[in-house]
């Protein structure tokens, strides 16, 4: 790689020739403020917050899109630069619905942080304000255009990372608004509810639908037996909301925190993740051995499911009919558990803590009621749980270690890795291999399907049968794999698709990291590594060894793919339109 040397604030920096000034400054530890810039995702030079002076140049230039050149002299901190940034920021603030104390992003807002850093004391440009536009028809995502600064980070996330592309800047100039076509609601277009737009947004213009009130109400209702399940990925992310480092493992703090909130039983989605492997592994073998539809594609990720329904309906028969672990949990809780405990299922209220906004949509799908009731009553995101804990004065990091309750709180390491891309595949392979061969796996770590590479492929030898697997995360990557399948260019038997980058650890309901934090560390990798550490620390690491799951089959379901299993744990899919009707 050809290198060039430039000077930034008098400091010499050597960087590859195709770098930007912002990247060079980053390397030299010189901080240039940014707002629209999101490394690798949105590098469009829209906001002009990052302006710098270049010796010999006339106008100030946006560092995030300015290429370096040999001998260039850059000044990042002159009176002109500071004034320009202030003016830019004040203009943004003059058309902003400033209501920080009641805003969902209060204390975690890039606009607020910049105002503080740049020392904004007053806004010199009282200007026209946009009429408020608020869209909360979607069960997952809320848009509040009165806080939008038009940085387009969400647009890039939706188009480039997710390959969905249902939001764009519409109209122009002062009338520009980031919205779906015809200014429809997100609920009316082919949005998959992934929440990656929320993760990208620097401010409070995009947020999850807040369902905490419904949970507080249930907890306060003495008639209700309120139980909670926590998804695998929560245990490596919730700590971040309480000042612990990225990827801190809080598995044992979780039950303590949830008990203190008042849940009657604290269970674990990891239990039903193990159950999913029993069903899905059996389904895979069934299809493989009896000429069923292949490749089989995993179905745990509701954003992916809705994506398939809108964009690849011709592949719906390839989807596993297994419900996601969240929904299997609900169905089992309101049948098996209710029966076992002698509780009227109409009195059971199931809350799930998910890293995911799409789980809210999934929970309210009309077919998700095989227990005779809505199987999962409320799905909360990691962020909503953190807000509830803070409201109740519970500091996660100060809690003692506690255990999940029996029986729906018992799990294996195979379930924990559902939280990272490749984990469902690996968990399935561990079980399928041992079931087919009857032999114990020598090495249970299928490292070839781990990691943040967008698409991973492997061929696994199961007693002489070569099984081709593929793993994709982020829907833009999924598209590539699916197109290969559609065009007959690939010969896969089994595919894992996770909607979000990194898998659930990078879900749209997780703690939001600002642009700088995302540049400093790859959160997908850090949280993912923590997930594998959780796996390594477990006594049992294969789903079929989960004793509570074994008991569930013995006492209630019979065997995987039994009639009862089909009724409670499997589902069907619906083709959905690509374009809205207006």
């Amino acid at each position: 790689m050809e290198m060039v040397t430039l000077t930034i604030d008098g400091q010499k920096v050597e960087v590859p020739k195709d770098s930007t000034v912002l990247e060079a400054a980053h390397k030299a530890n010189i901080r240039i403020p940014t707002l629209c810039f999101l490394k690798g995702i949105n590098e469009i030079g829209a906001c002009r917050m990052c302006v710098v002076e270049v010796k010999g140049g006339k106008a100030l230039q946006a560092a995030c899109v300015l290429p370096v050149s040999e001998g260039m002299e850059v000044i990042t901190n002159s009176p002109a630069v500071r004034e320009s940034r202030k003016v830019t920021l004040e203009l943004l603030l003059s058309d902003h619905n400033l209501e920080c104390p009641t805003c969902v992003r209060n204390l975690n807002c890039e606009l607020q942080k910049l105002s503080e850093e740049l020392g904004i004391k007053s806004i010199r440009y009282p200007g026209e304000k946009h009429a408020p536009r608020y869209d909360d028809f979607s069960p997952s995502i809320v848009r509040d255009a009165s806080k939008c600064i038009l940085c387009r980070r969400c647009v890039s996330a939706c188009h480039k990372v997710q390959g969905v592309g249902v939001i764009s800047p519409n109209h122009r100039g002062f009338n520009t608004v980031i919205a779906p076509v015809f200014d429809l609601s997100l609920a009316e277009v082919a949005c998959v509810n992934c929440g990656q737009c929320i993760m990208a947004c620097p401010v409070g213009a995009l947020k999850e639908k807040d369902d905490t009130d419904r949970v507080w109400q249930a907890l306060a209702d003495p008639e209700k037996h309120v139980i909670v399940q926590t998804a695998p990925a929560i245990r490596v992310s919730l700590g971040e909301e309480f000042g612990e480092g990225m990827g801190a493992i809080v598995t044992k703090k979780l039950p303590a925190a949830l008990r203190r909130l008042g849940f009657d039983k604290v269970f674990d989605t990891d239990f039903s993740a193990d159950l999913t492997i029993m069903e899905e592994g059996s389904e895979f073998l069934e299809r493989l051995q009896h000429g069923g539809k292949l490749p089989l594609i995993t179905s745990c990720s509701p954003g992916w499911i809705k994506f398939c329904e809108h964009y690849y309906p011709e592949l719906l028969d390839n989807l596993s009919t297994c419900k996601s672990p969240q929904q299997m949990f609900g169905a089992v809780a309101k049948t098996y558990y209710a029966e076992k405990m002698g509780i009227d299922p109409s009195k059971i209220f199931v809350v799930s803590i998910m890293p995911c906004t799409a789980k809210k949509f999934e929970a309210q799908r009309p077919e998700m009621n095989s227990s005779g009731y809505q199987d999962v009553d409320v799905a909360l995101t990691t962020r909503e749980l953190s807000r509830m804990l803070k409201e109740a004065g519970i500091d996660l990091s100060k809690l003692p270690d506690e255990e999940f309750d029996d029986p729906l709180g018992i799990s294996t390491g195979a379930a924990a890795i559902f939280g990272a891309t490749g984990g469902v595949m690996e968990a399935a392979l561990r079980t399928v291999y041992e079931v087919v061969t009857g032999k114990e796996l020598q090495n249970i770590d299928f490292t070839e399907v781990r990691g943040v590479e967008g698409i991973k492929e492997a061929t696994i030898d199961i007693d002489g049968t070569k099984v081709n697997v593929a793993v994709a995360h982020g829907l833009a990557n999924a598209r590539k794999v699916l197109d290969r399948v559609k065009n007959g260019e690939a010969n896969y038997h089994f595919i894992e698709i996770m909607c979000c980058p990194g898998g659930c650890v990078g879900g749209g309901g997780q703690p939001i990291l600002n642009a700088e934090e995302r540049w400093a560390k790859d959160y997908r990798e850090v949280r993912g590594n923590a997930i594998y550490e959780v796996d390594r620390s477990m006594k049992l690491r294969k789903s079929h060894e989960n004793p509570a799951v074994q008991t569930l089959y013995k006492e209630f379901l019979g065997k995987p793919l039994s009639e009862k299993s089909h009724h409670l744990l499997h589902t069907h899919y619906t083709k959905r339109p690509l374009y809205p009707e207006v």
């Binding site: 188009h159 969905v164 592309g165 249902v166 939001i167 764009s168 800047p169 519409n170 109209h171 122009r172 779906p180 076509v181 015809f182 277009v189 374009y579 809205p580 009707e581 207006v582």
Partner: protein
């Protein structure tokens, strides 16, 4: 009823032509502006039906198509009226109360600027100086210029187009 059926048949025919036109742009993301311009040339405006066809042919999202259409003022989302009213909002007209004339037009026609009346008779737009500043404030209906307007003259002018 009959006219509605006739209209549908007419639109069908135009949509057919759009399909044919789009053949040459298949898979060409860069051809969006040309494709939209030609499509508008055929249909007269760019309804959702046409936008879907363009998106599918060029292999881009509907959202990108809509975003582009709404960015450029020469693309129309709705059919244009038989009579196109353009209200000059240039400086000379503006200082002589063009916005009051515009308000009155909006009120009389029951549409906002940029829109077309439900009977497809009038569309209402704003424009920059039309070079008749001496007559400010001015409006143009199709090719006819009306000057020295006051809001109260509006109903009378509209009557001519009944």
């Amino acid at each position: 009823m009959e006219t509605a059926v006739k209209k549908d048949a007419e639109l069908e025919e135009k949509l057919q032509k759009v399909d044919e036109m789009l053949e040459k742009y298949k898979g060409q993301k860069g051809a969006l502006l040309q494709a939209l311009q030609e499509a508008q040339g055929i249909v007269g405006y760019l309804p959702l039906e046409v936008q879907k066809k363009v998106a599918a042919a060029l292999n881009i999202t509907l959202s990108e198509v809509y975003s582009t259409i709404t960015f450029y003022s020469f693309f129309n989302l709705k059919p244009r009226g038989k009579y196109q009213i353009r209200v000059c909002l240039g400086t000379a007209c503006y200082v002589r109360g063009a916005n009051k004339v515009l308000d009155r037009l909006e009120k009389e026609l029951g549409v906002k600027v940029g829109d077309t009346t439900d009977d497809a008779k009038f569309s209402l737009d704003a424009c920059r100086c039309v070079g008749a500043c001496g007559l400010a404030p001015t409006i143009i209906i199709n090719d006819e210029v009306y000057g020295r307007l006051t809001p109260d003259k509006v109903p009378e002018i509209l009557k001519k187009y009944e």
